[in-house]
């Protein structure tokens, strides 16, 4: 007998872009008409690869395309990839939240998924009632829950509040209660989304420890999705990297994380066009743009929080008269928040120049950017402090990863920037009103 407990074959999932609603009746009728004639669904054939950097060409997109993998008993598979790479879609398909468009998933034994902690908990009900309700939603029987009830409550650390309505709980306590229920599920295959991102550091350690126990002595299999490379490394023994809805890498966890980081950072750090094909108009064109880590010109050097970044833009100015020229860029973060606008116009670094190639170099100081993905959403060449000669959208993008500083805050990123501030800190011995 083989030890494969989960087998995914040619799995694909297609989503519709844009709004659902307009034209759905006519689409439905078309589908139905094709079906009774025994033809293929006219809308299932088209669709493009899920690459968010490209503009949509069709109304449909493949969130996942031809995914194949197998998981053996006792393995902990970490699934990593950028936002929108298809991780959550994959988990949703395996957890039967939604059905695949093509392909199949086969599993042995009971599967349980933890895409959210405390699903279905009702704020008006007590902790006791909620443990039963949540457990039943996760697929436990009443008998099982009763058997494990005391353990669940003490794992969550809320013995005192068993008969208090959950709405009186702090959000951390609610998460703990939800996770405790899930931790005592005994499925053969456990599917975990990034639920550990919530909760305090102590509880995260406890939760990861519990998950390890589960696989060590139960021979159980875990699929774990996370953005946190550290927890993936410490928890998983295999890794899978998803990119644009496809499997980019499948193998050992160290190699997977390495592969991820390599591909994560090299994206769009450098662009260059030959003079004839350079994007532009009759007055100006963009010849090249690139960025690198301050002090490390290697093209794939990992930029961590605290590092500086150096930008380099080269324009071709085609008009012969001399004018005041300035270069301006808008830096956005992954939430599309404008972080700041950098411009030679503001600092007076621009200059009066005539026809020819000009280069602008800009340095973002150390200790400013927070972790995350940054993007130069707009790059402008401005004439006489007012007229935009040429604008290029979405030139460069780069990632800043969190510098590992041991334990401490391991949750979501706090704030758009991560500046180093000047502090003064001392004790006052002779304080009086």
């Amino acid at each position: 007998m083989s030890d494969i407990v989960l087998k995914v074959d040619n799995l694909s999932k297609q989503y519709r872009l844009g709004e659902i609603g307009t034209g759905t009746i006519s689409h439905d009728l078309n589908r139905w008409f094709a079906k009774i004639r025994g033809k293929e669904d006219p809308y299932s054939i088209i669709g493009q690869v899920n690459d968010r950097t490209k503009k949509a060409e069709s109304d449909f997109v493949w969130a996942l395309k031809d995914i194949n993998f197998e998981v053996k008993r006792g393995e902990i598979l970490g699934i990593i990839g950028k936002n929108g790479a298809g991780k959550s879609t994959l988990l949703k398909l395996i957890s039967r939240i939604t059905a695949p468009t093509t392909g199949s998933i086969k599993a042995k034994g009971r599967t349980a998924s933890l895409l959210e902690v405390g699903t279905g908990m009702h704020p008006e009900m007590t902790a006791r009632e909620n443990v039963y309700l949540n457990g039943a939603i996760m697929g436990m029987t009443k008998k099982e829950i009763t058997r494990k009830f005391d353990e669940i409550i003490s794992f969550a650390g809320c013995d005192m509040y068993v008969d208090t309505p959950v709405k009186r709980f702090s959000s951390g306590m609610r998460v703990r209660l939800g996770f405790a229920v899930a931790a005592f599920l005994e499925p053969e295959i456990l599917i975990v989304d990034e639920v550990l991102a919530v909760g305090d550091a102590e509880f995260q350690k406890k939760a990861i420890g519990k998950m390890k126990d589960v696989t060590n002595d139960g021979g159980r299999t875990v699929l774990f999705v996370s953005h946190n490379m550290e927890s993936v490394k410490s928890l998983c023994n295999r890794g899978m990297v998803l990119k644009n809805g496809m499997v980019q890498f499948l193998g050992g966890v160290e190699e997977s994380v390495q592969n991820y980081i390599e591909h994560y950072v090299e994206e769009n750090r450098s662009r260059k066009w030959p003079r004839k094909e350079a994007p532009g108009n009759h007055s100006a064109a963009l010849l090249s743009a690139n960025l690198q880590k301050d002090g490390d010109p290697a093209p794939n050097a990992i930029i961590e929080t605290g590092d500086g970044v150096v930008f380099n833009f080269v324009f071709d100015y085609k008009e012969s008269r001399e004018v005041q020229l300035d270069v301006t860029f808008h830096l956005f973060d992954e939430m599309n928040t404008l972080v700041f606008v950098g411009s030679t116009g503001k600092t007076g670094d621009g200059g009066v120049l005539g026809k020819g190639v000009l280069e602008a170099v800009c340095k973002i100081p150390k200790n400013l950017l927070n972790e995350g993905n940054y993007r130069i959403g707009r790059l402008l060449l401005v004439q006489n402090r007012g007229t935009v000669l040429y604008e290029y959208k979405d030139v460069l993008s780069f990632d800043v990863v969190r510098r590992n500083m041991g334990l401490g805050w391991q949750g979501q990123k706090l704030g758009v920037v991560y500046p180093k501030l000047d502090w003064e800190f001392k004790s006052i011995s002779n304080y009086n009103d």
Partner: protein
Amino acid sequence: MKEKWDLVIKPSKGLLNFNFKELWRYRDLLTMFVKRDVVTLYKQTVLGPIWFFIQPIMTMVVYVVVFGNIAEIPTDGIPQPLFYLSGIIIWNYFSECFIQTSDTFAQNQNIFGKVYFPRLIMPMSKVASGLIKFFIQFFLFLGVFIYYMTQGVCFSFSLSLLLIPYLIMLMAGLGLGFGLIFTSMTTKYRDLKFLVQFGVQLLMYATPIIYPMSMLEGRLKDVIYLNPLAHVVESFKYVFLGQGDLSFYGLLYASIFTAVIVFMGMLIFNKTERNFVDTI
């Protein structure tokens, strides 16, 4: 070698592929949901479950005043409160089942989007918790009934009392069936949500709740009798109050109608549940 898999997920399953075994495995969840519905409904209210009584009593009083005294619609010689109350409680059960189940997908999209369990559990739990409400109101009805008996109003009982569970089942079935169809269609076409709200109200007037069937004649009667609910309500009134229309063919029609609606509802629901997360 052919391996044995416990779970196989494919793009589409057969139209008639109902997994009753799985439904049975999740029976504890059904009771949990029922408990949740009943327990949380009147939390932090002063009167609590008494609201179960107040609602039908107030409705009955309004009906007695408006339809009984102002419009002077006859009640077949039955005391007006009894006549209206019997209609109200059985109608309430239908509309509760229908309205609650017709909202299944929209209301539970958060849970459904995060965890899998047989989706049918949810509407079934609504029907079950509606039943508890129905029984509470039924006792109210019995109380009023006994009061009139001590006042010397005579009722004749027969074996037809045994029909009651069956009538309740028909009501539940019709509510569930229509609800399943509507909730499935609403995931794509939200318009239907508005239809449900006043549709139920209008449907009540096409059912002999505030008037007896004996009042109607000819074409109109035939049209009203196309409504399967009319047969169930009339039978219910006959069983308790001795007045009304209990016909074998009427009930047969209602039964077949119910069976078809429930079957269709489950079919559509079964097909919708697999992908509704993407369209809702």
